[in-house]
Symmetry: C2
Subunit: 329 residues, 2 copies
């Protein structure tokens, strides 16, 4: 697993300065270091205060100027949360996300959602508008404040690691759903050879689920804050079902109250393999596309790794099966 260079941004900043004909100075590096060492959404003044603790000689103007540079080179990201202050959050290797702000206690929840992004993209396409960046901000009252609990001093936690956690969870949920499908397809299939194919893939999925479970442990291990950080990545199985309609069409999901029985099938080995390939490739594509929205992070690598695995789970002749099972216009 690629270990993240603690202060990779320092080097990045130096390169950026050089490329822009700017000079590397003690103050700039001190401010960068201070910024990197702090988590959350800091105002210029917050950072200025922190910097002064280390060296009272730096001026606030320099902090303004440096933060502007950091934003320009992608190390920092400007954020407006509603209190007329410009705030800064970590930008390098941190997944883009949106903000929910509690107007009572000031708590900020960060989240990302593939579905929301998809819709956003769709709307931009309709206007033939080339989006550069977009922000979603929600203000309201958090559950803690509504129930007059004091929010358990939940300190802001590195988004990147929470993203990794949720990427594994997303892969896990998808894989469980696919396994479920293949198990049920095996049970429903009349053809022995075809059934065998489904069973084999179901077993593959099962093994993979175990591995993913371990990966989840690994991501969370020893990091209490990550383990109990609120959900960052919103992923609903609906997204899978919508991308892979055959799942819904062919499987009897355990329905709340009654439901259609499993459809009967009689797919020979080749047909079964093709169906399997189609499903896994579709899942792979979805994960790859979504991963493309993120900068290189552990979470992204997890998404891409899962996509690769899916592709390998159905390494058979492709396409002809597609139109038969899914005709998406």
């Amino acid at each position: 697993m690629p270990v993240r260079k603690a202060k990779e941004e320092v080097e990045m900043f130096r390169v950026w300065l050089r490329q822009n004909g700017l000079k590397r100075t003690y103050q700039k590096e001190l401010i960068l270091e201070t910024f990197l060492g702090a988590e959350g959404h800091l105002s210029v003044d917050d950072i200025y205060t922190l910097v002064k603790k280390k060296d009272r000689r730096v001026g606030s103007v320099t902090v303004f100027r440096t933060l502007k540079s950091l934003a320009a080179c992608g190390i920092a990201r400007e954020v407006t949360l509603g209190d007329g202050l410009t705030r800064f959050e970590h930008g390098h290797r941190h997944p883009p996300h949106h903000h929910i702000v509690c107007t009572r206690c000031g708590r900020v929840i960060e989240f990302a959602s593939p579905e929301l992004e998809r819709m956003q993209d769709e709307i931009m396409r309709k206007y033939d508008f080339q989006p550069d960046r977009h922000w979603i901000k929600t203000c309201g009252v958090c559950s803690n404040c509504r129930e007059n609990r004091k929010g358990g001093e939940e300190r802001p936690c590195d988004t990147e690691r929470v993203f990794a956690r949720d990427a594994v969870k997303m892969a896990l949920a998808t894989e469980v759903r696919l396994m479920e499908f293949f198990q049920q397809a095996a049970a429903a299939n009349q053809d022995a050879a075809g059934r065998e194919v489904f069973e084999r893939i179901a077993r593959l999925k099962e093994a993979n689920i175990a591995t993913l479970g371990e990966e989840l442990d690994d991501v969370v291990r020893g990091e209490e804050d990550v383990a109990k950080a609120p959900v960052f990545l919103h992923f609903s199985l609906d997204e899978v079902e919508q991308n892979i309609p055959s799942l819904t069409r062919l499987t009897a999901r355990p329905p709340a109250q009654g439901g259609r029985p499993v459809v009967e099938m009689a797919l020979d080995a080749e047909a079964a393999a093709k169906l399997a390939r189609f499903l896994t490739v579709t899942a792979a594509t979805f994960f790859k596309d979504y991963a493309a929205k993120f900068p290189d992070t552990r979470g992204r690598r997890i998404l891409l790794g899962f996509a690769g695995q899916q592709e390998s789970h159905g390494d058979l002749d492709s396409n002809s099966y597609l139109s038969a099972w899914d005709s998406k216009s």
Copy 2:
């Protein structure tokens, strides 16, 4: 059709002032009048300038103070578009919406989307967060600027009327889809009495489509600006299909390249009627729920009117059929 009192807001403001123990003054009313007479996203200074044209004696401070009051009572809505200025747009009887800002020419596109709102709500529910308001802002480059066309001086156009236009279009699209379904269901049904029911409803839909077409004409008639304003309300048929899975399941939509044939059915009159009722009630519920998100406007009344009509199109015994055709968990 309820004709909108041109300056209904004036009365509203007076009431609000009285209720808050404030005094009604010449300046306040002048500023309100000026604000109401302007369309778009105006900064305090924009309005101050306009007000000064009418009476040079008013001070900018009063404009600040009055706009704050207007925002507090809902007549105006504060908006931040990215150029560090607080801007104001009409708030009373204007549907809440989001903004797309072209960073080259400053053009602002407004839009609303039921799907986006649904997802937003869902995410808030997951955090047990009570949202008060939320903003979506996208910055980028519009098509005009990208192709170096000068944006045809498209002046901002009253959102309320565009909303009405799109509400009709949304109803129309849904009704066409439903008609399509009933026509195809009629063709596929083996039972003569059942077929007859489907045919009857299809004809009802057909008539309704004609009426809606007239309503669309009516909304647009003589209002060039409304007719060619860009899409405001984003509504995709996917939303219908997702809400009414049986549509997709039972109909062969004309697919791009090949596709499954129409499913065969043998529904007697009662079963057919129940299915019809289910579909129309589901559509009605969707429209009612969505309308609930808007303040009283013509667009909202159109949505509610359509919902009512749907309900009347399936006035038969309900529920028992639901679980058989749609098992949404």
